[in-house]
Each structure stands twice: as C-alpha cells, then as structure tokens.
Symmetry: C2
Subunit: 593 residues, 2 copies
Amino acid sequence: MRTHFCGLVDETLIGQTVTLCGWADVARNLGGLCFIDLRDHEGIVQIIAEPDAGEVFKVAADVGYEYCLRVTGTVRKRHAVNDKIRTGQVEVVATQIEILNRAEPLPFHAHENAGEETRLTYRYLDLRRPEMQRMMRTRIKLVQALRRWLDARGFQDIETPILTKATPEGARDFLVPARMHPGEFYALPQSPQLFKQILMVAGFDRYYQIARCFRDEALRADRQLEFTQLDMEFAWVRERDVQDAVEGMIRDVFSEVIGVQLDAEFPRMTYAEAMRRYGSDKPDLRIELEFADIADLVKSCEFKVFSDWANHADGRVVALRVPGGASLSRKQIDDYGAYAAKFGAKGLAWMKVEDAAKGREGINSPIAKFLDDAALAAVVQAAGAQGGDAIFFGAATYKTASDFMGALRLKLGKDLGLVRDGWKPLWVTDFPMFEWDEDEQRYVALHHPFTAPAVDDIADLRANAKTAVSRGYDMVLNGNEIGGGSIRIHRPDMQSAVFDLLGIGAEEAEAKFGFLLDALKYGAPPHGGIAFGIDRIAALMAGTESIRDVIAFPKTTTAQCLMTGAPSPVPDKQLAEVHIGIREKVLVDKPTV
Amino acid sequence: MRTHFCGLVDETLIGQTVTLCGWADVARNLGGLCFIDLRDHEGIVQIIAEPDAGEVFKVAADVGYEYCLRVTGTVRKRHAVNDKIRTGQVEVVATQIEILNRAEPLPFHAHENAGEETRLTYRYLDLRRPEMQRMMRTRIKLVQALRRWLDARGFQDIETPILTKATPEGARDFLVPARMHPGEFYALPQSPQLFKQILMVAGFDRYYQIARCFRDEALRADRQLEFTQLDMEFAWVRERDVQDAVEGMIRDVFSEVIGVQLDAEFPRMTYAEAMRRYGSDKPDLRIELEFADIADLVKSCEFKVFSDWANHADGRVVALRVPGGASLSRKQIDDYGAYAAKFGAKGLAWMKVEDAAKGREGINSPIAKFLDDAALAAVVQAAGAQGGDAIFFGAATYKTASDFMGALRLKLGKDLGLVRDGWKPLWVTDFPMFEWDEDEQRYVALHHPFTAPAVDDIADLRANAKTAVSRGYDMVLNGNEIGGGSIRIHRPDMQSAVFDLLGIGAEEAEAKFGFLLDALKYGAPPHGGIAFGIDRIAALMAGTESIRDVIAFPKTTTAQCLMTGAPSPVPDKQLAEVHIGIREKVLVDKPTV
C-alpha cells in the first residue's frame, strides 16, 4: 500500500513520487493551502495539497485529526526548513489522497499526557504517543538483545506450561478449574522454577525463557498480576559460573540497548555487609550515605532506648549522617519520624551539629543531655558529621533498626538530592538460608525451598539452621533487585532435609514436590540459575518509574484492564461447565442453576 | 566445573588434561579395566580407569547407570576406533572421578522407547534420550530462526496479557476467578487476536509474538490445552503483502532449520477449488489422487442415490480412482465404507475395473447394473481408472460428500503408499465469509468475526451473505493447516454489520467487543495478519506425528500432566479466597466451609 515510511522521506527522494500511509497528526488550512502532518511509526512528514489540485484539495480540506490516509505525491524541497526532524528538508505535494478511515473526536489528544485512567481505557491512543512508542521500543530492544546474546551462547529457549500444578507455597496461586476433572484445578505458575530444574535433570545443559509468571498478591503501586522474567538455568555450575555469565550479559545488553557502560566488574557484598552499611539487601549505591554502628559508644549512656538496645543480644543502634541536615525544620524532622514509623520505628532520635567547633554547645538535640562529652564527640565522629549536618539515630532489633533506617536513607537521598546520576550495579550474596517466621513459629526460606545451603553436610545444616547461609545471590541495580538466583539442591537427601527444616513433612513434600524428589534420585546434575525482572529492567532503561509504561496492556492497582473490562462476570452456564459456583451466592442464596 | 564438553573431545586434545561433567551412559568392567561412556548434551566420550589408578579405579568400579560424574583425565589415542562418533578416535584416562550424584535404578533405560504413560511420568528421563533431544532442539532452532527473520525486518515482539477478558465466542475459555473482584473472572486468551488488532490501531506497524494460547476443548489425539502460535499483524496491507512476506519467511526458515527448499512460489487455490478437487480446505498435495465430479453423467441413471443427489441443488456425486484397487478384498472395501461412515457417508459405492479392455464384462461392481453402457464407460473414463484400479463413489450434500470422500482420499493415500516424499505447501484463499449453523439457525464466521469480507459495501454483504467470500487465507503444508489469517475489518460500521449478520446484537457486541468498536472509531488503519502453529510446524520438521514430541511438558489426552499431577484438588480455604466453591459439592451437600 505504500512505497516509503512517512518518517524516512528525505532529500534523497526529491523529485520522486512516493505513496505514504499514516495518521493525520495535524491538518490545517493556511494561506489557501492544506497542510497535513502525516505520521507513521517512523515519524512525521509534511503533506501539501494545493488549491489547484481539484479533488485532492477537497479531500485534504475534509481531513481531521487522526484520520488514516494514503497519500501519493511528489517530494520537493521545502521553503521553511525544520532541522529538528529527519524529513524537515522536504514536503510532499499530494496528487492523490485516500481517506482509509475517519476518526471521531479523540478523548484526549496524542500530544498530551492524560490521566492514567483515561490513558489505560484508550490504550490504543495512549500507545500512539511518541513517548510511549519510545518506551515500548526500549523494552522490545532489551528482549531482542537478551535473546541474541543467549542464542549465540548455546542457551536453549524452552517453553514450560502455563497450566500447571497448584503448590501452596510462597505467593498465592491463580486457579483454573479443570473441566475434565471436576473439583480439580490447574494453577498458573509463579515461576518456571521446578520445570527449569527438571530441564537440567533432563540434560538440556543451558536453558532460558522469557517467561510469564503470575502472583495473586495485593498489588502495590508497581506490581502486576502477571509479569515477565528472563528465566535461566545452568547445569554443572557453581555460583561464579552463573554470576560471571549473566553479569557479562547485563553489561553487554545495557551497552547495546541504551549505550551505557556498566562497571567492568560489579562490586560484591554479602547480605550481612549490605544490612550493616545500608540497612537493605538491595542497597542503592548511588546514595553515598552509610550507617555508623554506635552501640559500643552508647552502651552505658543514660538514654535508655540506646543503652537497652546497645546491650541487647539482637539489638542495633545506628547513626546516619544527613549532610546539610542542620537546616531541617522541626516539621521536616517530625515528618521523617513519621516516615520511619511506617517501617517499624518507635521513634527517631536526631541531632543537629550546628557548629562542629563548639562541642556540646554547637549541638542541638533532645538526647544530647543523656550523653557525656566523650560519648557525644564519639558519636558525632562515628557518624562523620560536619558542621551544618544532622544525624538520625535508629535503635531497635537489628532487623527493625536496619529496615527503617534503610528506608530513611533512601528517602533522605532523594529529598536532599544526594542520588548521583549513573548506574550502580552490585551482587548481594551469602543470604541467610532461613528466616524465622514469628507468626507461624517456623522457618521460611529466604529465597525458596530449592536453594542450596552453603554446607554440604545435612547434620551441620540441622545443627546450625539459624545461622546457615545459602548459595543464593541477587543482582541489584540502583536500589532495585533486578535478578535473583541460586545454586539449587541437587541431592534428594538434602532436599528432604530442607523441606523438613521448613516444616514441610514427608507426606506433604511427596504430594507437592514428589516429582522433584523423584527427579533428583535419577542422577540430577549440580545446577543453578537466576531470573531477571524484564519489566523492571525495561523501565529502568526507558527512564520511567512505572513498569506500566513498558507493558502494552497493564492492569491497574485494582487488578483490572480498563480497556477490555477484565475481569468480568460470566454466565452461570459457563461456571457449571467447569463445576464451580460463586461462593457468596452459594452461601447466601441457593445456587441459581 | 568442566573444561570441555564430553561429546566434543577429539584428536586435537590428545595429550591434554580435560575435566568433563556428564552422566554414565554405560559403565562396565572389562579385562580388568573400568570403561565408562560419559554423556552430556553434545555426545559421548569413553573414560578409562586403570587398575593401578588406586582410588580412581575404586570409584569407577562403583559407578552405575546415569550417575552424575566429574572426571579429570588425559586424552589419548584409542585402540578400538569408533568411526561413528566424533570422539571415537580418543579416550580419556581418568586421574580423578568425583561422583556428583548417584542414580537409583531407572524406571526405563535411556536407550529404550517406553510406553507414553511412563515417558510422561518420568519426563526428565524421557527428554534425556538423544531422539527427544534432537526433536526438542529442532523446535528450539525453528523458533530462533523465526525470531531472527522477524527481528531483522522490523517486526516488534510485544507481549499481550494472559489474564484477559472472557469472550464466549468460538472455543470454550479457561476461567480464572478474580480474588479482588468477587464473582468475576479473567479468561485465558484463545489467541491474542483483538490485542494484535489494537496494536495496529496503536501504531506499532508490524507485530509478532510467540504466543501461548488456550482452548478448553475436547482433546483430540493431537491437541493440547495450551499451544503456541507465531502471531503476526501488519498495518497498511492487502492480502498479498502479508502472504508474500510470510511465504518468504517459511521458505527461509525451512531452508535454515532442516535444509529443505520449498517451492519458489507456493501454489494458490481457492477454497472452492480445494473442496472440488480434494474435498478438503487443507489438501495434502503429496497424494496425487483427485476427485472427478460425475453428477452430469448419472443424472438419469437408475441408481437412485446417484440420480437423486445429481439432481439435488446442493448435491454432489464424486468418483475417486483407487490405483491398484481392483485387488482390494471385500473386507477391505467394507472397512473403507465404515471409515467413510465416520465422516458422514451413508454408504460407499465401489467399482473394480478388473479388465479395462472388456467394458462391462471387465467391471465388478454392485452398482454397474444400474448404469447403461455409455454412463458406465463415461464414469470409468472420468475417474481416470485403468485396468487393475478401483473407484469409490460418494453421493450426498456437497459438503458431506466432500468431507467423507476427502477423508477417504487421505486414508487411501496412506494405506496404498501413495503419499510422495517431500513438502507440498499451498495457499488456500477465498473462503466463504459465513457458514450456516443448522443447530443454532444462524450464520457463524468461518474464520472469526473480525475477518474482512471481500466486498466493501455493507448493503452488498447483507444481500449476499450466503455466498460472500472473506479476505481470509490459510497456509497448508502436507495436509496440515500450518497458518491461518486474514485482512481484518477496520471500519466500525462494517464490524457492526458483520456482528449483526452473526446474530450478535448491538448490546452484546458492545459488552463483549466494545473496546474494539471504539478503537476502530479513532482512525484504525487497514490491517491484517496471520498465525502459525509452532507445535505443528516443529513436529513436521522433526519428522514426528505427535506434537507431544516437541513440547517439553505436554498434557495427556485426558488433560493431565503425569509428571506433576496437575490438575489436582486444592484446599477449600484457597477456593474461598477467590470466592468460588465446587459445584457438585454445593449442589449435593452443603458447602463445607
């Protein structure tokens, strides 16, 4: 239907006849001429219809915003050159204009950024906007670059099932009633974890998949019911084999897609170090602020909150320097206190170092009076505070103090403009194997129950479960966990022991994971892998905060698709076919069949 | 963990030390030496442990089938050369053997082809077999080649949702209860049809996706609940733009993946012609048998079945030559009759031409006596039967006669060895727009309700709906519909008219497809596309009859995954969370909450 793309018509075509298809981005009458900016996915070119062109001029005068047109005409040099666009040197004098489709007045104009609800309802118009096209194309390029990298290195792209087995472990499953098996259900996969391990047992050596995953969780601002991960698994490997390979991949892909050179070697940090220095297992290294542990300095001070936690076996007292924080208002400090409270803080002690040379006199702090001169000076020094700075203090259990001070560090970093430009990747390693769940009074797996412990000896693991370290690792970029993986358990006895430690009895393990335990019995090779969050990486690359900008048809935080209206009621007949009924109806009334 | 792959150790490595990982394919003691065939995804290499090697020999003697090993040793020239494998010139003398994992006695041996139930239960062992590895790798290569082709041509790989809107049209949807919206459901997509059309409205110009699709239909031998299609859509195109592009793609990919050169130009055939010559809209052109229409010759014969249908406005009388069929036994002929009956035949008339030179005397047929000499001779001639051949006859409505004679043609082709080697692609075009559904007493869409009719005029379409032809097209290969597509409706008035003709009222259309009708109002470009069945194409390329051989984790015809045990019952608590109950329980007892 066309000979060229609108956005690529340039001086090399002057004098030639072209046929173009596109949307009327702008159409106007000016000085007796009809001007139409015709737009396609490559860009815009100016079309001119002259008054003496007869029928063509009449058609052109009738064109409205976003009409679909097919235009034939001659390319000529333009008088009023526009240097900003590739086609800015030329215009096309129309000899024929065909209106392929009209457009009603738009709910919002392609050049404006409407409210998100309107944008999602009319997603086809939203996606036409150049900014959305750019962000979506960044995602497309990312996936292409990843595939090319993996294909070139012998990774096998293998599809795993979407209709699979419910495994009530981890997040909540989406259920699909099975028509042929009344009362039974498939579940949508939370990840292809077990399938990819099975593929290693099956001899595929190197696997990847751009895999759709599903979690029926409360939607936080930036979560989707379904999301996409680059899922990878390697046979016959140790941690560094996986890490070195995928670190190279991420480096290559960032360079190829957005021209960014990441560190030649990503820094590495244990979980313990990350918590100690930044109060986070995904520290944003663009913010240079670091914690100072001051328990030793306040063990015997008179401020009970400090001294109690400083002497507590699982306590932590931490100081965080706030550069220039001496100028914070009381209201601002209170707001930070309220913010920290959301993450578990019972209170937020503070100290302004108004004049470093004056000692106690230069310090403004409600807690200063509880510290003797030596302790006060030591605390200021440990925090690295200069005149004009402030210090925030956290005192609580190690985990709680780390959590809220870590959250505060991020917020201060953003508020005070301390987030440096650029890209800060790192590896976080040596995660704890288990976390104690107070509510359930049992251990839960910090990664997942298939993660190998660092020790090979089962008795050793049992004896030291509390402090056991796993062979898990996360790749973190600018404060986002963009990838997470581990070496897996490949021995059936170790897998059974870990299930046992997690409170999954032999019978339950057999019912849920019997096929995995079986597979491990028949010569499962050592294996490990990782999964990367494609939506998040694409959003980072596209420079947007929201993963919804790099998903063609995202759902809202209320789990709806505003364009199609999903989810929606279905006729009772359809439910009967799959042997289910709606619960409320069932419980409140009689079934309506 | 390894320096080389087992299957790639060759003479260039002689004298070098290598470390290999793999499975013990065979392990045996022979003449005081331990021989182990060590296998990885690349192949097998022979490992030797010598009695004077001490610990290594003891470990080697302990190795059983499918043990996972890590072997370090020196490559040396082998005495008993094996020319059949790449590593056949060498062997590796072990200096260290590490047992990474033991294997229990296998349920079936890697070299045997066990029953399908066993194979699917222990899929990880089944997939280890070299034949399965070969077939799966063919699929992987196919998808890789398709992506490379499409990426190089500017097609945009865009993911569309898996949790989407139920549209009770076409096949049965899989339903997913929505936890956040009690009584409402998502549906899994039968295809991304509407999303890809929306993407064209959204300005993406060229789209593709290797897309998972879901149909909750009775599983025929070779259907799966979930299947994979290469889904494509083009903006600003007519039929030939799509067809020429994808024909080139299929040609390139067959050449690249399996080294097969398909026709430089695929033959084209209308639906009407395909039904007339082969009784099928996906004719297998490897079988040269063709129908002869003989209604004109038997209009006035005394065999009522023939003459009635020959004079019926919608009747068909068709003859099919069976080369060498004169030697068919009565039993065989009866069996073909029973076979045809499955496809709607009320009876199967037959004629053996035992001696062509003898006229009526040379013919053996229960119906010969009803035909006069001229008619008899004309029928034999029309069918093209020679001495030694037989003729089968079908007489019924046009559709029924075509259906069962078409099925018979395929069966005869296979039974009589008339299926020639090679690859016979073709395009089938000009499908009817609508089919009359006798049960529902309404038109149904032969492709789908978004397929454009060949006429642009709505009044014309309404007046001639019965004979209207669509802009749909199928790509057929060796009797399989491997791709199907169409130019879509892009005008909202035409889309509404087609919904109306299909008995979908304005209100229902708005409820189900309102977002499509809206999208068409805002300048939808002319567009069209196609979808290819990846599972089927991969199976054809791999030379297997069953798509299950090219799916890593397929389901059985009873819709189960024998390995994981999906589907399965789930705790009632989980059902309550998504507001549903099991129907039978609900109706029979009280709900068990």
